[in-house]
């Protein structure tokens, strides 16, 4: 009796003991690193947002709510609203352009599908600033688009395209369109073709099949794509500066200026936090909605 117990006991206890010890060397280095260089810096920003600015950057440790109140001044509120507006327009355009693209790719033969996807991803791996700069070559008054328009006789005088809000929208759309196409493609490609066939066999027109079968089932992918575009479009400050000429200010530009020109770090921190809170909320809503959608489609 005792001997079997003795033999069994360590065999049962040993794995638990190992489990108790082993996580530390695996988890600790990474977690300590991320706490030090992510959690603490972000926490520090939250902390600073309740204090007064230092004269040359930094902070004076006198408690104040001014930074949070300042957000509601028309000037800053306007910038936030404008950023949301620009990011929304970009997201909508990306959806309208990206959906047909993803749909077409999902209908290709497997071999061409791979080629088509690589072609979508490729511009994305080209340096972000160079892709921004390319639009300066295109949209400048002496740029290519104006040269073409003039040589075709469509316009006599060059049209001012660079340094307009529209140019910012085009630039952001160009930058993030691949992020819309990829998740859309992923959800369209998973669609069971037999569903569409069933609809067609039952006499549905192609449009009706698309509207009642394909479109609802691809909604989660569309939502993911919208998040992928909206989130970076909202915080980008390089495109508004380089293609927008700094005339249309977005939240990102404001944050940058607080750190490098106005030297008001606490207010810059507050703005960045507001931006992050908004984006996190958007992501939470998206994941809740898409969970609802997948559950709904599973039930249906």
């Amino acid at each position: 009796m005792t001997s079997t117990l003795d033999r069994k006991a360590p065999a049962v206890r040993a794995p638990r003991a190992r489990r108790g010890f082993a996580p530390v060397p695996f988890l600790a280095p990474g977690l300590v690193f991320l706490i030090a260089f992510m959690a603490i810096p972000v926490g520090l920003l939250a902390f600073y947002s309740f204090f007064k600015r230092g004269r040359f950057g930094g902070v004076v440790f006198e408690f104040t709510l001014d930074n949070w109140v300042k957000l509601f001044e028309p000037l800053y509120l306007g910038v936030i609203v404008q950023s949301v507006g620009v990011a929304l327009v970009v997201t909508l355009l990306a959806l309208l352009i990206g959906y047909p693209m993803a749909y077409a790719i999902a209908g290709l033969s497997p071999k061409w599908r791979t080629v088509a996807l690589v072609a979508i991803v490729l511009p994305f791996w080209t340096n972000f600033l160079i892709r921004t700069y390319a639009w300066i070559l295109l949209l400048n008054n002496a740029g290519w688009v104006n040269q073409w328009l003039q040589s075709l006789g469509i316009v006599d005088e060059p049209i001012a395209m660079l340094y307009t809000p529209q140019a910012i929208v085009v630039g952001l759309l160009y930058m993030y369109l691949p992020l819309m196409v990829l998740p859309l493609y992923a959800s369209l490609q998973q669609l069971d073709p037999s569903l569409r066939e069933a609809a067609t066999n039952l006499g549905a027109t192609p449009w009706r099949t698309f509207r009642t079968v394909t479109l609802p089932l691809s909604l989660p992918g569309a939502l993911t794509g919208c998040i992928f575009v909206f989130v970076p479009a909202m915080s980008n400050f390089v495109i508004p500066e380089l293609i927008g000429g700094g005339k249309t200010i977005m939240v990102g530009n404001l944050v940058r200026d607080q750190f490098f020109e106005a030297r008001d770090w606490p207010f810059g921190a507050t703005l960045a936090l507001v931006l992050t809170i908004m984006l996190v909320l958007v992501i939470l809503v998206q994941s809740a909605v898409s969970r609802r959608l997948t559950e709904g489609s599973r039930r249906g």
């Binding site: 991320l34 992510m38 921190a269």
Partner: protein, 280 residues
């Protein structure tokens, strides 16, 4: 991006060989928006590539074919120094991130329930780069740490760790658990099991994660912008100030070379995933 991997298996799963060609033939009109989309994506890049062979100093007027900007690019000290800085930062950040991310992914998969630690480890990939950038700038200045390449390495390692963790975690999911158990049953300790059994199995995921971390770091602008010293700019920062304060056609040549490098990398990565896909 993940679904571009192992096309052979996906192809087989949803082959449906009878109807596929019919669908393709039927869908010719559907390809029009696709081609227009590609035109939109590639036109700007094409313009830059063409202008890199332009003989003129003028950025907008074509004068004739010339290769002059390529030697001038390599003679440009500012750009070359920027490139060197970028490579140092990317290598350093990738080294840190690969080790930390692999360990984290293994630890998360093996020892944690629930998603809290997982979400924390992946958070830097989702947080706005702007927030991380100014947070680190504030933190470094509080510590009175002089900015330089070391601070950029630490900053880049933060988001790079998140990407390595995510990719290795994905690989962990397809790991054969019984091999580890067999190794333990045969008397190997946890460290030995990890080194001899787990790591080789995770290798493709680790390599893919490291490559992604490296590429992202090379391209990263915003975080580097806040965390490097103005005297030691990375390449994206050099390009940024050139675009801001006056571009020379060298930038076109630089863009063309970078484009070529990324085409080769993407195709190589595609081949690699296909290889590992067939092995699996």
């Amino acid at each position: 991006m993940a679904d571009t991997g192992n096309p052979p298996t996906t192809a087989m799963r949803e082959a449906d060989p009878a109807s596929a060609p019919r669908a393709v033939r039927k869908a010719r009109g559907i390809l029009v928006p696709l081609w227009l989309g590609y035109a939109f994506l590639y036109l700007p890049i094409l313009v830059v590539v063409i202008m890199s062979f332009n003989d003129s100093e003028n950025l907008f007027v074509w004068r004739g074919f010339s290769l002059r900007w390529y030697p001038e690019l390599f003679a440009d000290e500012q750009i070359m120094q920027g490139l060197a800085n970028t490579l140092v930062v990317a290598a350093g950040a990738t080294a840190i991130a690969t080790v930390l991310g692999t360990l984290l992914a293994y630890g998360i998969q093996k020892y944690t329930r629930g998603g809290l630690i997982r979400a924390f480890a992946i958070a830097p990939a989702i947080l706005p780069d702007l927030l991380l950038g100014i947070g680190l700038l504030t933190f470094f200045s509080l510590l009175s740490l002089t900015l330089g390449l070391h601070s950029a390495i630490l900053a880049h390692a933060v988001f790079a760790t998140a990407f390595v963790t995510a990719i290795v975690l994905a690989r962990m999911a397809s790991l054969d658990q019984s091999l580890e158990e067999a190794s333990r049953d045969l008397g190997a300790g946890p460290v030995r099991t990890f080194m001899r059994v787990t790591l080789p199995q995770l290798a493709p995921g680790i390599v893919a994660g490291a490559l992604l971390a490296f590429t992202l770091s090379i391209d990263e602008f915003v975080i580097a912008f806040f965390t490097t010293a103005p005297t030691q700019p990375t390449l994206p920062i050099v390009i940024y100030s050139m675009v801001r304060f006056g571009v020379t056609p060298e930038v076109n040549a630089l863009a063309t070379i970078l484009l070529l490098v990324s085409i080769v990398t993407v195709i190589a990565a595609q081949r690699l995933t296909r290889l590992t896909g067939t092995v699996k």
